[in-house]
């Protein structure tokens, strides 16, 4: 509703001479009215009844729900009190209270957003001038229908993202500041309380076992992400270059084969590898023993260090086609006249590759390396289906973190397995912090590309 008039819109609302008044209310008056009650300025001085009524309706609906919203926010603050005397289903459920509170805050945020829109809309209508504002009921209705297109187009999206992306992210951040964990603080039997930074203290130095586990997993997650990206990038690019440059036959056959890992769902390929790498009966060991390369089975997935190596190798198997396809795409995008010009100037095949193809491919694919790092940092599937985080190490029984667990798969173990939601949430917050620079990079890159925003 707060769309500035597009050229096409202006065309449809032809100016009508206004016989009644040409005197416009002052800026301050309109802003005051618009701020006092949503839609008030539209209804009174601006003479935009339909729009004003709709805005007013939103505010009325908000005021009606205000007591219940307030109640929920109080619940978010207190998280309920324990009532051991009541049957379990009647006790205060802290988790529900938390979610409801966060949703209430989200509803208030949406309302504030609509308020901003209504005030801006009033100011824009004022700037438009009385003669250009639609007057008749029909003109007003069609103007609202037309100009509210962005609002209608975006509201399902905004609501979905608010409730299924933003609210969960806020919730998991909040859980990091509570004692929501098994066995003593799991609703509905017990309540959850705010504990401030206690969980952070435990994880960052307060408790030796948890701190060392966190350090270990964090370092491995970083190393894993770097290795997974480096190997797939180099491997994929090498193959793409060989297939593109080398003077060989059967290129389409090789390319078709190399695409296969990309076509197979990760769950399937990881579970197949898990079975092939099985210590006793796996195909890898039996084959290597059959051809005499090894005498006894290699514990591929049960030795912590070997398992780390294997995880990276399998990630290479599954991930190189992505970068191979990207490099191929980048190479086909290089203008042919550039190559021809170099050829005429006497550049050898190697020189053309070294000074034209390679720099252009690197330039085009470099930003994707960064995004791929972020992706692999959280690549749950590549770890979980292959090793389930295992093998167990010294602290696994307490912390749930196995030898190949990365932060996200550890969160899964903590929440689904151990029900230590509070510690899981601390790790989630940590992931947010690590991901923040990537978000900024993503933002800047897009801006660099578009020049807009």
């Amino acid at each position: 509703m707060a769309v500035t008039i597009q050229p096409a819109d202006a065309e449809t609302h032809r100016p009508e001479p206004d016989p009644r008044n040409t005197r416009e209310p002052s800026d301050g008056r309109v802003r005051g009215l618009a701020l006092a009650f949503m839609g008030l300025a539209h209804l009174t001085v601006l003479d935009q009844r339909i729009k004003g009524a709709l805005f007013a309706l939103v505010e009325v609906a908000f005021i009606v729900t205000l007591p219940s919203l307030f109640h929920r926010i109080v619940g978010l603050v207190t998280l309920g009190s324990p009532h051991p005397e009541l049957p379990t289903k009647d006790r205060d459920n802290s988790t529900f209270m938390m979610i409801d509170g966060v949703i209430a805050v989200a509803i208030i945020a949406v309302f504030v957003g609509v308020y901003v829109i209504s005030v801006r809309s009033a100011m824009q209508d004022l700037r438009l001038g009385a003669r250009y504002r639609p007057r008749s009921f029909r003109a007003q209705a069609s103007a609202v229908a037309n100009r509210s297109f962005p609002l209608i187009g975006l509201s399902p999206t905004v609501l979905l993202i608010a409730f299924f992306v933003v609210v969960p992210l806020v919730f998991s951040t909040l859980v990091a500041f509570t004692n929501y964990s098994s066995p003593e603080h799991v609703p509905p039997a017990n309540t959850v309380d705010w504990v401030g930074f206690d969980n952070f203290v435990t994880m960052f130095g307060g408790d030796a076992t948890w701190t060392s586990a966190l350090t270990r997993v964090f370092v491995w997650t970083t190393v894993w992400a770097i290795l997974a990206v480096a190997t797939t990038y180099i491997g994929g690019m090498l193959l793409a270059i060989v297939l593109h440059e080398a003077n060989i036959r059967f290129k389409p056959v090789y390319r078709a084969i190399f695409i296969l890992p990309y076509a197979i769902p990760a769950v399937v390929s990881m579970l197949v590898w898990r079975n092939m790498l099985n210590g006793a009966f796996g195909a890898v060991n039996t084959l290597l023993m059959d051809i005499g390369l090894i005498d006894s089975p290699v514990p591929w997935l049960s030795d912590p260090w070997l398992a780390k190596f294997v995880v990276v190798m399998i990630a290479l198997w599954a991930g190189f086609p992505y970068f191979m396809l990207l490099t191929m795409g980048a190479m086909t995008a290089i203008p042919a006249d550039l190559q021809e010009a170099a050829q005429i100037d006497g550049a050898s095949k190697w020189q053309r590759f070294r000074y034209i193809t390679l720099p252009m491919v690197l330039y085009q694919t470099a930003p994707l390396i960064i995004m791929s790092l972020a992706m692999n940092f959280n690549n749950f599937g590549a770890i979980f289906f292959l090793t389930q985080g295992g093998p167990n190490v010294a602290d696994t029984t307490t912390t749930g973190a196995g030898g190949t667990d990365i932060l996200v798969s550890w969160i899964y173990q903590l929440t689904v397995g151990l029900m230590k939601y509070n510690y899981g949430a601390v790790i989630a917050v940590m992931i947010f912090l690590v991901m923040a620079p990537f978000a900024i990079f993503n933002f800047r890159r897009t801006r660099a590309f578009k020049g807009e925003m």
Partner: protein, 280 residues
């Protein structure tokens, strides 16, 4: 110059050997799975290193279709993936169009939040999603799962579509507007057809992700008749079960359509990777 020719032949032979070795490593798990799907018995211990070297049987496929709910899992996964794909296409193209062509209040903050939200993996909020779905009575339903996927897809998809629209001159749709078409009409008849390439890319990626996702179905779906392919297949090779051959049979059925699709479209796949991923 015989020595130079010799070097070139040697170099090419090395390249052939290298490529063939990579090809063997790529194909190995695939041929292993394929042969396991037709091998009698259940455990991996009975499998031969020679493909199809330990007998041949259709039993695992019969078992899948008669003793398990495999067809049902297939149908559920299909419903979830198609609904997610269609929803993403509709909402992302609409929002992408709005972001690309309109100026409106709060546009900048909205676009920035979409950009930032793309980065965070949505399943770190899984406890919250569980409770929200519980509150909505959407646990153990397919539509609840679709809502979760849809919301998770949107930030990235909207940016993708918006950036694509930005490269298209707005003259076309403005002309339609001046001719008196409503926004919705312009969007459906003019804008959507132009966006076909990027929507195709989006359709493929948003179908493939929920098709084989594990975490959210595991979290949301409980009853046996609401399971998906990923849940069903992993249940064959969980800690309690080790029925690799049945898993292999199920996996083969799942993977073959994908492989055929990728092989047929590899040319345009490279093209769409070049436009979709690099210029997003």
């Amino acid at each position: 110059m015989p020595s130079k020719r010799f070097a070139s032949v040697l170099g090419r032979t090395m390249i052939y050997i290298g490529l063939t070795m990579v090809a063997i490593v790529v194909i190995w798990p695939i041929s292993y799975t394929l042969s396991a799907a037709f091998t009698p018995g259940n455990s991996i211990a009975g499998l031969s290193n020679v493909p199809f070297g330990a007998g041949f049987t259709w039993d695992h496929f019969t078992y899948l279709f008669t003793e398990t709910m495999y067809p049902r899992w297939f149908l559920n996964s299909f419903i979830i993936a198609v609904a997610t794909m269609l929803g993403t296409l509709v909402f992302a193209s609409l929002a992408g169009y709005v972001f690309s062509r309109f100026r409106f209040t709060l546009k900048r903050p909205l676009m920035m939040s979409l950009l930032v939200l793309q980065i965070f993996p949505s399943f770190v909020g899984m406890i919250a999603i569980y409770v929200i779905l519980l509150r909505m009575n959407a646990l153990d339903t397919l539509w609840g799962l679709v809502l979760v996927y849809l919301a998770g897809n949107l930030p990235y998809s909207i940016w993708l579509v918006k950036s694509y629209f930005d490269t298209i001159p707005s003259g076309l749709d403005e002309a339609a507007r001046i001719d008196g078409a409503s926004h919705l009409r312009t969007y459906v008849t003019i804008v959507l057809p132009i966006a076909k390439p990027i929507l195709l890319f989006l359709a493929i990626t948003t179908f493939a992700a929920p098709w084989m996702d594990f975490i959210f179905p595991k979290l949301v779906l409980r009853s046996p008749e609401q399971q998906t392919l990923a849940l069903g297949l992993t249940s064959f090779v969980s800690d309690k079960n080790s029925d690799f051959t049945t898993f292999a049979a199920g996996a083969v059925i799942v993977a073959i359509p994908f492989i055929i699709f990728f092989l047929l479209t590899q040319k345009s796949l490279i093209q769409s990777m070049a436009t979709g991923a690099m210029k997003e």
